[in-house]
């Protein structure tokens, strides 16, 4: 008996775990557990903002730990740990920092929102921290199983967050849709892992790469099918067309701060996984997967841009615009060069700030009930709340790629990487959708800066914009919109006052400053993204 036990322990010896290497994730998980325990043990309700404040502290600690890792990697080079299942290198630490920042900003935005909607509670922040930890595991994963674990941890928490606003039916609908489709795509992803394992005998990314470099596979059908399924699973997470169709509904239905957080983290983690899997494990099979990524990029660009053009709901518009952004990131990926990858990383990093800030504005303008998301609700915002309008205009300009914002360089780097890689059709398409994008971003800015309906000036822009819209692609939609304006002007004296919670104002200021400051002096972030590419295991 004892002998058998001893034998078992000898066989099943646990791998050495370098806890420091996964400290950022552990901090988040620990924070989540602590918050859950603490809030259920304490009988009195703490002061408002405590939970959010706690999350911010935890996120900051996690960012600190990530920063320490970054420093270590810069000094001692990349390393693998936890039985080679986790890679600590520049690439993964960039994503650790990115997700930590998204969590920090997201919980600040959520605070004001949850209190306004009467939904404040520790569960939200617990879920947010857990999903963050999941995203981080995806970023550091060096093994397909770890990618999958991270993916599920991230997703399941996000499904619940999407349905968090229980009084809004849209919120529940979003959660159901996201869950069912997410499960579907996870299954495909898992099947992909199985096929790859079958073909190469390993789930470890480095082992796969080694195997592929040492063996010539005579029939690679299974391997290729596996790669295809991995691309589909991760393509779903980043909302790449044709796996994007869930995202407008889910973005629209989810509580707005969740949308911002989801748009940042799910996309970042998905791309982290995609980049890692494609380059670490299947770098030698580039010629096989590159055409797929090129087509996905092209489709995603077009679907995002055209979809955004016909929207009258701002959340849906931003959903399509983030599909378009995903297309740009894919363009950098499709180039499959160092310049392309560092362009994609830069794009993702700056996009995080822009998208969280944008949805921060939307969460405020949505007002109580989170329902005012039509373009019309933004008319005259500049007059009612110049701060909100100015920040939003800035973030929208950044999204359209105006010089001296972070968005310009982001687009510039990925497109020029495509040009350098002689992928001219993709470069042309990117520019084309950027030109189209200017239309729907500018339209929103025009609306914010036109006078409230009924006054003469508003009609000017209205007529012009509507006509442009009709001619370029909005069809009947905007004509309806005009009719609504008239009705609104007649029936409504004016929407209720906008209240910008301090925490949200802080996020808006931070994201706005980041977008301009690093647009003007971009060296730091560009270097960061570039270093992260070089310091890859």
């Amino acid at each position: 008996m004892i002998h058998t036990l001893l034998l078992a322990t000898q066989v099943l010896h646990a791998p050495h775990v370098d806890y420091v290497a996964i400290l950022p994730e552990l901090i988040l998980i620990g924070g989540a557990l602590l918050l859950m325990l603490g809030s259920s043990l304490s009988s009195s309700r703490p002061a408002p903002g405590t939970w959010s404040g706690f999350t911010v502290v935890v996120a900051a600690a996690s960012i600190g730990a990530s920063w320490y890792l970054w420093d270590q990697v810069s000094r001692h080079g990349p390393q693998e740990t936890v039985h080679n299942a986790v890679a600590v290198d520049g690439f993964s630490t960039l994503f650790l920092i990115l997700i930590g920042v998204a969590l920090l900003l997201g919980s600040l935005v959520a605070d004001g929102y949850l209190r306004r909607e009467g939904l404040d509670g520790p569960e939200f922040y617990v879920l947010a921290m857990l999903s963050g930890a999941g995203g981080m595991f995806m970023s550091v994963a060096n093994d397909l199983i770890v990618v999958f674990l991270g993916l599920e941890t991230l997703s399941i928490a996000l499904y619940v967050l999407a349905g968090y606003h229980t009084r809004r039916k849209e919120s529940s609908e979003a959660a159901i849709k996201y869950f069912v489709l997410g499960a579907f795509s996870s299954a495909i992803f898992l099947y992909g892992i199985a096929l790859v394992y079958g073909a190469t005998g390993s789930t470890n990314l480095v082992s796969i790469a080694t195997y592929l470099s040492q063996n010539v596979i005579v029939t690679n059908g299974i391997l290729l099918a596996g790669i295809a399924m991995l691309i589909v699973g991760l393509g779903f997470k980043v909302a790449a067309a044709p796996f994007h169709n869930w995202s407008p509904d889910v973005y629209q239905g989810s509580p707005t701060p969740v949308t911002g957080y989801m748009a940042a983290v799910a996309k970042a983690a998905g791309f982290a996984g995609l980049l890692r899997v494609l380059f670490s494990a299947f770098g030698s099979m580039r010629t096989d997967w590159q055409p797929v990524i090129v087509v996905l990029a092209a489709l995603t660009l077009v679907v995002g841009a055209v979809g955004a053009m016909v929207q009258t709901d701002v959340k849906r518009l931003l959903a399509y615009s983030s599909i378009n952004h995903a297309g740009f990131v894919l363009v950098g990926l499709a180039a499959a060069t160092t310049a392309g990858i560092s362009g994609s990383l830069y794009y993702l990093f700056t996009y995080t700030f822009v998208v969280i800030g944008s949805f921060g504005v939307v969460s405020v303008v949505g007002r109580h009930g989170d329902g005012r998301h039509q373009l019309e609700d933004y008319r005259g915002l500049a007059r009612r709340n110049p701060f909100l309008a100015a920040v939003f205009a800035l973030l929208l300009l950044a999204q359209s790629g105006v010089p001296f914002t972070t968005g310009f360089l982001a687009k510039f780097y990925v497109i020029s990487s495509a040009v350098q890689a002689r992928s001219y059709p993709l470069a042309i398409l990117s520019i084309l959708t950027a030109v189209v994008g200017a239309y729907y971003y500018l339209r929103l800015i025009f609306i914010m800066y036109s006078s409230p309906a009924g006054e003469a000036e508003a009609v000017a822009v209205e007529l012009m914009i509507t006509d442009v819209a009709v001619s370029t692609g909005a069809g009947t939609t905007l004509v309806e919109e005009v009719d609504e304006v008239v009705v609104l002007a007649e029936t409504e004296a004016g929407p209720p006052e906008l209240e910008v919670p301090t925490s949200t104002a802080l996020v808006l200021t931070l994201t706005g400053l980041f977008t301009v400051a690093f647009g003007l002096v971009p060296g730091t972030i560009v270097n960061f993204a570039h270093q992260a590419t070089l310091l890859v295991h």
Binding site: A225, V232, W246, P248, Q252, V292, V310, A427, V526
Partner: protein, 647 residues
């Protein structure tokens, strides 16, 4: 002295800000005066800078002033910098000069308009953008200015937005210019990929490694941008419609400055064009065809401003012909001449429209010479200048271009010369219809006494305080002074570049930055004189035919066939495409893209928000399954592709 350059840029910007934030306090006329002052100050600073640059040695006259260095990593290095060289200063001088006059004129023209202040806000912003465009030291900031002038143009075309046509026109300009922007952007990426720089100096220094094919691609893409901005075939449809804007806007933006940006860009990149003779040929053919095409259409227009719009297009065609013939000096020369006489024609037309209580149909004018002596005299000068009669400036500049065109190909010359005849003809027709003959407006004018009744009748939209029901009369001095100054410039403007050896001031001045084979073409003197006489004879013939035909009778349907009146039906086609086709296209897209296939709705917008109580039913019975189907279909396609590649 060239350190005055920042002042040129900053004054209109300051004007813009002061008028935006303090305009309400300033009140109507002062806001206009402030705007005018800002631009005039900018003009003075341009002169100072110009003198500074002139005092330098010719080969040193290309100074880059860097104001802010924007140095991201990864090869891209863009500075906010001004490139001060003969080309940019020539542009800045005439842009700010003409702008000052038109600002002054607008104070009176826009008097009483409810949005008077806003007009000057836009106008100052336009001048600022235009200066950025021409003074920028790199492609990126030229593009920023390019977008800026475009935006101001839409805002100003749609200024009288309650006219539906004005809003439609603004829309057209927006859409068409997007096509051009696309070409410009793409060219920038190609340039950066092949030379590693976007600074003009940097790009031109690295052209050695650029192949002929790449140079042609870059040149043609930039040409696409230029064609959109400068209203050449086939992207011109927005220009005639842009005449819906207030007349000073037509004069400034759609005649003198913005539309010449395309020509400027082509001249600016002449080192790239030099690498690609094919692109030069394309530019020349495009230019001469546009010149001829637009001139034929102008012959049949009845709206006083539309004649001038097509004429602008035609004259821009000449400038492209000049560029295509590698006669960059000549193209710039004609650009300046054209800025003077065309701005004058528009301002005088504005004066006529003003006097006619917003009537723009030339068939309802006539005999105005008696009533508008200053307007008519200055208009006559511009008419002779555009027709190419010596000694007015148009004669010299057009002759320069045609000489160079002959050097490139006699066919180009022949078409260009035929256009001279047409130009003289349609301008004469306009002069005859507006200023001579019967006063056909009398019956439409409700009594010379009933002064107030007439002005109450004319649209409040224009609203420029016309209380003139009596006989037509001249505007105040601030309207006539710009006319007189521009007329003077049209008379004497030829002096800046006479085709006699040392008198080619402009060519010599521009030669360090823009000298092409066409400028240096040395035909024998006798051939030059022969060509000159031919065009002169054609211009004379045009004037003669025009005055004979239209002096006698104003009703000649045979000479105004519908096909020309409707500009070969191009408007109908483009409208059909933009509205009908575009609408269908957009509906189709929204069906395909936004879940329409799935739920069968006309547009799939916001069904979440709309669906309310049916959410659960819908979530369980259709959507998710169908979304999953979409994902599955995508998976199958990718799998199929991969398995095809499998060995």
């Amino acid at each position: 002295m060239i350190h005055a350059a920042p002042v040129i840029i900053l004054l209109p910007l300051a004007g813009f800000f002061v008028l935006t934030f303090g305009g309400r306090r300033l009140g109507d006329p002062s806001a206009g005066w402030l705007g005018t002052l800002a631009v005039t100050g900018s003009f003075v600073a341009s002169i100072v800078t110009f003198l500074g640059l002139r005092s330098m040695a010719p080969h040193a006259r290309s100074v880059v002033q860097t104001y802010y260095s924007w140095v991201p990593v990864g090869g891209l290095k863009v500075n906010i910098s001004a490139l001060l060289d003969p080309l940019s200063l020539t542009m800045v001088l005439f842009v700010t000069g003409v702008s000052s006059l038109i600002h002054l004129y607008s104070i009176s023209y826009m008097k009483g308009d409810p949005q008077f202040r806003k007009f000057f806000v836009y106008l100052n912003l336009f001048v600022f953008s235009m200066i950025v465009l021409v003074m920028a030291g790199n492609f990126l900031f030229t593009f920023v200015g390019w977008e800026g002038v475009g935006t101001c143009s839409y805002l100003l075309v749609g200024f009288w937005f309650d006219r539906e046509t004005a809003a439609t026109a603004a829309k057209k300009a927006f859409v068409v210019n997007r096509i051009g922007d696309f070409g410009f952007l793409l060219a920038m990426f190609l340039i950066f990929a092949h030379t590693g720089s976007l600074d003009y100096h940097g790009v031109f220094a690295h052209l050695g490694s650029v192949t002929r094919g790449t140079a042609t691609a870059i040149a043609l893409l930039l040409l696409l941008g230029a064609v959109g901005k400068s209203a050449q075939l086939p992207l011109y449809v927005w220009l005639p419609d842009a005449m819906e804007g207030p007349t000073p806007v037509s004069a400034l933006i759609h005649a003198a400055t913005m539309v010449t940006a395309g020509v400027y860009l082509m001249v600016r990149v002449n080192p790239i064009l030099a690498l690609s003779p094919d692109s030069l040929t394309v530019i020349a053919i495009l230019g001469v065809v546009t010149a001829f095409y637009a001139a034929t259409v102008a012959c049949a227009q009845n709206d006083i401003k539309r004649v001038l719009a097509y004429s602008t297009m035609s004259q821009l065609g000449y400038m492209f012909l000049g560029v295509g013939s590698a006669a960059y000096g000549a193209a710039i020369f004609h650009m300046i001449s054209h800025a003077f006489f065309k701005a004058l024609l528009f301002l005088a037309a504005g004066s006529v429209i003003h006097a006619m209580n917003d009537e723009q149909n030339m068939k309802k004018m006539g005999g105005l010479r008696k009533y508008l002596p200053i307007t008519s005299t200055t208009f006559f000068i511009a008419w002779l200048a555009i027709s190419g009669i010596p000694p007015f400036n148009g004669f010299w500049s057009k002759d320069d271009i045609l000489g160079a065109a002959y050097h490139k190909s006699p066919i180009l010359y022949a078409v260009g010369a035929a256009t001279v005849l047409l130009t003289a003809y349609y301008m004469t027709r306009q002069v005859v219809l507006v200023f001579t003959g019967q006063a056909r407006w009398v019956e439409n004018r409700p009594g010379v006494e009933g002064a107030r009744a007439a002005s109450a009748g004319h649209g409040g939209a224009a609203g420029h305080g016309g209380d003139h029901g009596g006989p037509p009369h001249e505007g105040p001095w601030i309207m006539t002074l710009p006319l007189i100054v521009l007329a003077g410039a049209s008379v004497l403007g030829g002096l800046i570049d006479l085709p006699f050896g040392k008198l080619k001031f402009l060519d010599t001045w521009l030669s360090p930055v823009a000298s092409g084979a066409g400028d240096l073409a040395t035909e024998s003197a006798s051939l030059r004189i022969a060509l000159l006489l031919v065009t002169l004879a054609l211009a004379g013939a045009g004037i003669l035919i025009g005055s004979r035909l239209w002096g006698a009778r104003i009703d000649r349907p045979a000479l105004e066939p519908e096909v020309l009146q409707r500009s070969y039906y191009a408007d109908d086609i483009s409208s059909a495409v933009l509205t009908g086709g575009g609408g269908m296209f957009s509906r189709a897209l929204s069906v395909v893209v936004d879940n329409g296939i799935i739920d069968g709705a006309v547009n799939g917008v916001g069904h979440l928000a709309r669906s309310g109580g049916t959410v659960v039913r819908r979530a369980q019975t259709g959507y998710v399954r169908n979304y999953a189907l979409g994902i599955a279909a995508g998976t199958v396609l990718i799998l199929a592709f991969m398995l095809v590649r499998a060995s």
